[in-house]
């Protein structure tokens, strides 16, 4: 490859939303390497103004179809924090089950449908139907089961219905949970184990690239944090979620309709790899074994390994979901009404780990229960600066490769983050400028 390089990938495929990759090198000097976010802005924060607390989660779930459950649950937590609504133990357990289901569905979708075609050098999952039919069918089965968790517990996996402030509008039947548990053990578990084998066989296609950065995720004293906890930075430790603005420090760049974020360094990483680095000791033993089998070690500084960390989490949430169902059945399902009587008003913060990383919703309510101000900080937005920093290190390291290979490596890098651009606004094109 010459000393001049111009790459422009317009509307990157196999990612959620619209983004372009732009790389520009002249006389061996890297002038530009970034992910440009071109998703039309959606202005959710503005649309939330004046809306009732009954509608907040309905609206914010529409930020993103893939992450709708994560937005909805985080929105509910923020509303409950602001209005002083206590929730029951059963509500919390059902929410954790839903979060597990959404994590399973999203991680499987990404690993098999969006990332695996890169490892096998095909353009999509569709050609794999002919060449790897059993693998595609397995992926579809796992996704279906994960979506069934959403359908059964929340009424609908995309834009869930039953989770509302203070609880659920419908509690699942005991028989539905018993059947879910059976399928988790008899279907999801063997499929999960087979997935580890598949990913192990593909691991050779994962580029060797490392850039140590700051890793930020939630951390919980008792469990692998997906639902609530403290904010934890690998650089500076824990702090309360109410201080999230001190961590995210959003700023606007002209190449992105999504805002960027930085904390102790010029960028930080959120998502499965950050959770793995910060909290891996809290995974179930089977997930740790899976990690070892696939070559994922603590601490891992290769962003391409994010996909492998997602598969490790898929194994974890299968076991954790069985545990949650057992607890629910043991305690007996109660037909509780949602607690929707506010005891205060003002500001509230919700934060959860959604598949792509740590998510924040921040609402201020007036005394009528209407939103005065809203702010949502999305995982992909937080990762954008980190992706740009990765590109700046990666391009000079692989400059000897052909332009096509460089483009492929860059696309694969962005996909490894499993970016969700609808969320951040929407995402991806690669521009090589020549």
């Amino acid at each position: 490859m010459s000393q001049d390089l111009n790459i422009k990938v317009h509307h990157l495929t196999r990612v959620e939303g619209h983004g372009n990759i732009v790389v520009n090198m002249k006389d061996g000097v890297l002038e530009k390497a970034h992910l440009s976010i071109v998703e039309p802005p959606r202005f959710f924060e503005a649309m939330m103004k004046g809306r009732s607390f009954h509608e907040a989660a309905i609206i914010t779930s529409r930020i993103c179809g893939i992450c709708s459950l994560g937005h909805q649950i985080t929105s509910l937590v923020a509303t409950e924090d602001a209005l002083g609504l206590e929730i029951s133990e059963q509500t919390e357990l059902l929410r954790k089950l839903l979060v597990n289901g959404a994590t399973l569905q999203s991680n499987v979708l990404h690993a098999y449908f969006l990332a695996a075609p890169d490892f096998l050098k095909v353009g999509s999952v569709f050609p794999l139907i002919a060449t790897h039919k059993d693998v595609v069918l397995r992926a579809l089965r796992m996704k279906r089961l994960a979506n069934d968790i959403g359908d059964i517990v929340s009424g609908r996996a995309v834009h869930p219905i039953t989770p509302v402030p203070g609880g659920f509008t419908r509690i699942p039947e005991k028989s539905e949970l018993v059947e879910l548990k059976r399928r988790l053990l008899e279907e999801a578990l063997p499929d999960g184990i087979a997935t580890i084998e598949t990913m192990k066989s593909l691991a050779g296609a994962i580029p060797q690239f490392e850039r140590e950065t700051e890793y930020i995720s939630l951390k919980h004293p008792d469990e692998y944090a997906l639902y609530q906890g403290d904010i934890f930075s690998s650089d500076s430790g824990a702090q309360d979620v109410h201080n999230y603005l001190d961590v995210t420090n959003e700023f606007i760049v002209d190449h992105s309709t999504s805002k960027h974020a930085r904390f102790n360094r010029s960028s930080y990483f959120v998502g499965a790899l950050a959770r793995w680095n910060n909290n891996h000791t809290q995974l179930v033993p089977e997930a740790l074994e899976a990690a070892e089998a696939m070559g994922l070690k603590p601490n891992c500084y290769n962003p391409y390994m994010n996909t492998i960390a997602q598969v490790v989490e898929a194994v974890h949430v299968i076991f954790d979901s069985v545990r949650i169902i057992d607890t629910l059945l043991e305690k007996g399902l109660k037909n509780e009404k949602p607690n929707q009587t506010p005891t205060r008003y003002g500001r509230g913060i919700g934060s959860n780990e959604v598949p792509r990383g740590i998510l924040f919703h921040d609402y201020t309510y007036d005394k009528k229960g209407s939103i005065v101000e809203a702010n949502c900080i999305i995982p992909t937005g937080q990762n954008l600066a980190n992706i740009d920093d990765d590109m700046k290190k990666l391009v000079p390291e692989i400059i000897a490769k052909s332009k096509e290979e460089i483009t492929a490596d860059l696309e694969m890098l962005v996909r490894a983050y499993d970016p969700c651009i609808s969320c951040s606004v929407h995402m991806l094109d690669v521009d090589f400028i020549e």
Partner: protein, 244 residues
């Protein structure tokens, strides 16, 4: 020859596309009858012309307008998929506020960096042949339309309120349970899924052809919310449709 089918996303959450990937049990059968030639969320390929183009999302920026014209020129049949494409959906709530205020709320003094238009339906820019309603669109609705189109048949249009299917499902009226529900003015076809799960209808499938606004507002205000709040609830998914 199998019809060439393509999927495009505009301003939306891509949940309708996801719902197609969530047709796990039918996906392989669908692929026997159609050829998917473009689907950015799932594949790299691109094509020049389409027999059926499915459009998700609202039109909300100058580049969206150019792109939808281009797709229309190259498509035999064009289908609006989901609430954002059919009537603007939740995106259209921003149209209720002055556009400069909206941009300032989100981007502050950098608002001029990002061009935006009011969120519009696809049919306000180009001819739309069919629509699949809902937020998200239901998989059954999508499959029904796809089968009709592949067979070369006309697809039926649903114009009864959600209440009809809600009664058929033998649900207790949510107004009796202290909720405020948009079922009476909302176009059905969803099997009243939200009320069946104990949640009020949000109006996501759009309004009936002749909605009774006055009656609806009267029912809502009689059940304890202010006129102002009642109007807002009506606008949630239908800011571009409601005429008060």
């Amino acid at each position: 020859m199998k019809p060439k089918v393509a999927f495009f996303d505009f301003t939306s959450c891509e949940g309708c596309q996801l719902n197609k990937l969530n047709l796990e049990n039918d996906l392989l059968d669908i692929l026997k009858h159609v050829e998917i030639v473009e689907f950015r969320e799932a594949m790299d390929d691109k094509a020049d012309a389409y027999d059926i183009a499915f459009i998700e999302g609202s039109i909300s920026s100058p580049s969206c307008v150019e792109r939808i014209h281009d797709i229309r020129r190259r498509s035999k049949i064009l289908v609006a998929l989901g609430s954002c494409a059919v009537n603007g959906g939740v995106n259209a709530m921003k149209n209720l506020q002055p556009i400069d205020e909206v941009r300032e709320t989100v981007y502050g003094e950098d608002k001029y960096l990002f061009a935006t238009l009011p969120a519009m339906s696809v049919s306000s820019i180009v001819k739309v042949d069919y629509e699949v309603r809902g937020c998200p669109m239901t998989q059954q609705d999508f499959l029904k339309l796809l089968v009709s189109l592949v067979l070369g048949k006309q697809a039926p249009r649903y114009d009864s309120p959600v209440c009809v299917e809600c009664k058929l499902s033998e649900n207790e009226c949510l107004y009796n349970r202290g909720m405020v529900c948009l079922g009476p003015i909302t176009r059905g076809g969803c099997d009243a899924i939200c009320p069946s799960f104990g949640q009020f209808c949000t109006g996501c499938r759009g309004l009936l052809d002749e909605p009774n606004y006055i009656g609806m507002l009267e029912v809502m205000t009689n059940h304890g919310i202010s006129l102002d709040e009642a109007k807002k609830r009506m606008l949630l998914f239908n800011s571009n449709e409601v005429q008060l």
